[in-house]
């Protein structure tokens, strides 16, 4: 009985939802205070890491710095976050530059009171009650949350997958198509399936590469 009550009163970690406005915030960063609205008009990759001065996070930061120029070409800004202080962030990025020769060009939120981390469901108590997990949120120029990735503390993220995801979302917006499994830029895309019988009958005559009425691809 006691166990049942404990389970019922357990805190529920809320996560933001895809397709809805990303939760607004104002935060202190290594490049000064920022608000989510400051990024309006650009894509934003907001990501969290567990802690400064830890090895997996250091490899990830070098990875994010490496893809930063590619993200800029796609009009994407990067914004990091952990529950460490600004001083800790500054010391860490200086250390990465000194020891690894990699300059970190993007701001990092110092979320000491866990305000942003809570808004975005970045803390998963089953993993750690004091650190943010490895989360990625892709927010479009209108401020809508378009994709989320959650990785555990032990597993560094795949930077190429983040780039691929940005490419897929931007391709979807530009061409009104979907992208198949393992899609990469330059490959064929999925034509959205017909949603009426009439459209289904027409689909096979429309010049797409079709396996059946619901499964058609095209080159861009």
């Amino acid at each position: 009985m006691e166990e049942k009550v404990a389970a019922e009163t357990k805190e529920v970690v809320s996560l933001p939802r895809l397709g809805e406005p990303a939760p607004a915030f104002e935060a202190v960063t290594t490049q000064g205070p920022v608000r989510l609205e400051d990024f309006k008009g650009s894509w934003l990759v907001l990501f969290s890491h567990p802690a400064d001065f830890t090895p997996v996070c250091t490899t990830e930061f070098m990875g994010f710095a490496e893809i930063h120029p590619e993200l800029k070409k796609r009009d994407v800004e990067l914004l990091g976050l952990s529950v460490d202080s600004v001083s800790s962030h500054i010391a860490w990025v200086r250390n990465i530059e000194e020891k690894m020769g990699v300059k970190i060009p993007f701001p990092i939120i110092a979320d000491l009171n866990k305000e942003v981390a809570t808004l975005y469901g970045m803390i998963h108590p089953g993993e750690s009650k004091t650190e943010t997990s490895r989360c990625v949120f892709i927010i479009d120029p209108e401020g809508v949350l378009r994709a989320m990735i959650y990785y555990p503390l032990t597993t560094g993220r795949n930077m190429q997958e983040i780039l691929r995801l940005v490419d897929a979302l931007q391709t979807t917006d530009k061409h009104k198509v979907a992208t198949p499994a393992n899609w990469k830029p330059g490959e064929k895309v999925i034509v959205p399936p017909p949603n009426t019988q009439e459209m289904a009958e027409e689909r096979l005559k429309e010049g797409y590469e079709c396996k059946d009425w619901y499964f058609c691809k095209k080159k861009l």
Binding site: Q31, G32, P33, V34, R35, E37, D38, F39, S42, E77
Partner: protein, 71 residues
């Protein structure tokens, strides 16, 4: 504040932004002329408005007399 040092002087990026608004300019124009990302221009200009270093008129921003003195 990110733009203003504790001794009241301006940071290098704040000076660059204020110089870019020595004549009225939009946020996008400031981003282009300074090479800084638009989100930094937005947050910096917000601080400068609060500090009385810049003012907004019809969607464009310009350094105030105080702002000109700080450059």
């Amino acid at each position: 504040m990110a733009c203003i040092n504790p001794d009241g002087t301006l940071t290098p990026s704040a000076k660059a932004i204020l110089s870019a608004v020595s004549s009225p300019a939009s946020l996008e124009e400031v981003a282009k002329s300074t090479g800084l990302p638009l989100f930094r221009i937005r947050s910096s200009i917000r601080e400068m408005l609060e500090a009385g270093l810049a003012e907004e008129k019809e969607g464009k921003y310009a350094a105030t007399k105080l702002g000109q003195e700080k450059i």
